[in-house]
Symmetry: C2
């Protein structure tokens, strides 16, 4: 079977849960990841090895990775902040690790108490060792469009950080609209700035639906040649900088819109809706995803066209 046109990374278990108020049980996380493993997504970002002091919700990282039922062909990844985190990720047999920095100096300093340049140096040995261990490596760039402290970020500044991560050895550069401000023109400017810096086939777009523009920006990115997207089923995650706001683009909405337009993603909406229902129950809250509320269109004699 040929590879799908678009590659989806389910980041709900990491970016989603990391930004939710409720901490869910290890059992619930394992069940959640197992459902996602069967959804057809190319990759599941299972957890983070950032210190539980900062991200208590994911303190059970090693246990989750040990207990999930891995599906052959699915890439299982984890966020690592430093060499110690890499050690744990290697012990847990991840297929891939992600390192992370930001395009905003203020955000970087507030987030990890270091300048952007310092974070690049911190990750140098992490990336080198990961590559030597034959892991794939992703480099996240937060605030790729705007920063909650600095406001709009210059696309050229983002491209400079992308170049630095790429020079470090990252296979994939993940551009994150952390606070979900982007409109199509922002995507255009951002990707224009990356021409000649990182090829589109090495870029993943990580969009938030904070202001309802996530899916539109994913589509614009696709029109610009991007083929890899992060999303969270149910649209979980919220936004630490805008209480009550929505989170990541909902995986099922992205897959629905793309598949319905003939663009193969490899994923199945019904499986994603099941995973969304499961995590909604575990979190004890309704999810932002509109497709999760309405279901798939299913015509019926009485017009009650909800379905899965």
């Amino acid at each position: 079977m040929t590879n799908p046109t678009v590659r989806i990374t389910e980041v709900g278990p990491r970016d989603g849960l990391q930004n939710e108020k409720a901490t869910i049980s290890t059992d619930a996380k394992v069940a959640y990841v197992d459902r996602l493993s069967r959804s057809g997504c190319a990759e599941v970002e299972v957890t983070s090895f950032v210190s539980p002091k900062w991200v208590p919700q994911l303190a059970d990282a090693a246990e989750v990775l040990a207990r999930i039922a891995r599906v052959p062909g699915v890439v299982y990844s984890a966020l690592v902040p430093n060499e110690k985190g890499l050690d744990a990720a290697l012990a847990a047999r991840v297929d891939k690790v992600s390192v992370f920095t930001a395009a905003s100096e203020t955000f970087c300093r507030r987030n990890v108490n270091a300048s952007i340049a310092e974070t690049i140096e911190r990750f140098r040995p992490v990336v080198a060792r990961a590559k030597a261990a034959r892991l794939a490596v992703r480099g996240y760039v937060s605030c790729a469009v705007a920063c909650p402290f600095e406001g709009p970020i210059q696309p050229r500044a983002v491209a400079d950080v992308s170049r630095a991560l790429s020079d470090l050895g990252c296979d994939e550069i993940d551009l994150g609209d952390t606070i979900g401000v982007a409109a199509p023109a922002d995507i255009d400017r951002l990707l224009d700035a990356h021409e000649g810096v990182v090829a589109p086939d090495r870029i993943t777009m990580h969009l938030h639906d904070t202001r309802g523009t996530g899916l539109l920006c994913a589509w614009r990115s696709y029109e610009r040649g991007i083929r890899s997207f992060d999303a969270s089923c149910g649209g979980i995650g919220g936004c630490p900088y805008a209480p009550g706001a929505s989170g990541n683009v909902a995986t099922e909405e992205l897959v629905y819109a793309f598949e319905r337009s003939g663009i193969a993603t490899g994923a199945r909406v019904s499986a994603l809706l099941e995973a969304a229902a499961g995590i909604a129950e575990a979190l004890g809250r309704a999810l932002p995803s509109k497709l999760a509320k309405a279901g798939l269109p299913r015509p019926s004699i009485d017009g009650s066209c909800q379905g899965t």
Copy 2:
């Protein structure tokens, strides 16, 4: 001042309120329409003269129209189901009326107990008298993508109904994705079928965000030459065929995405957010709109980047 590139019709007071469970007071409706009149939208669809037996929420149609503070340059319109409704609309001095049918025979019969052809004939004298009275006339086509009973609707069938409404004398054809199933490919097929039937500058797209694709489809429509869109601030309206589902595209989200991309809509997000807040209070419920929850991006020292 030149006309904005894109024309927005605020349908919240009619399509939105018609599909909400709660009935709000006449005072609240007047306040709501007055806020919308100051938002910069080109048109406000104030109410409907469909019998209160069917739409009790809008039984105060004449009183609302009498009490609103009309802003010069804004078009005030109302839905009319027949000549009696037109009489009332004329007495209320609307600028424009809308007639309505569907591209699905089953939906049409369930909705108004008539075939599509019968509805066209019913509206013949309505449109003729409205044009004679120098009113603008819009013709709505529901189920332009899919029907809750029949499922997918052939684009050619939609174009046939559009042609019939156009031949009747309608100035503007409004294509409604009533149950919000569309992805960009559906928009392409629908507008392909309308080539040579109704010019793009006479088409208005009426999109629902039931499955999270509303704004994306509005953008696709714009890429295809459409310059007129319906929306409801806050995204009110729900879906009678999918309980709990979302409603119209949220006006503020559409305006935000377009304006941020350099496409002038004439409307102001902050004014729309005020109107959304007011109607949320009157309805006693949280609104689907993500932008309404998050606010406009407003960088700040403490990173609490919500704002209006």
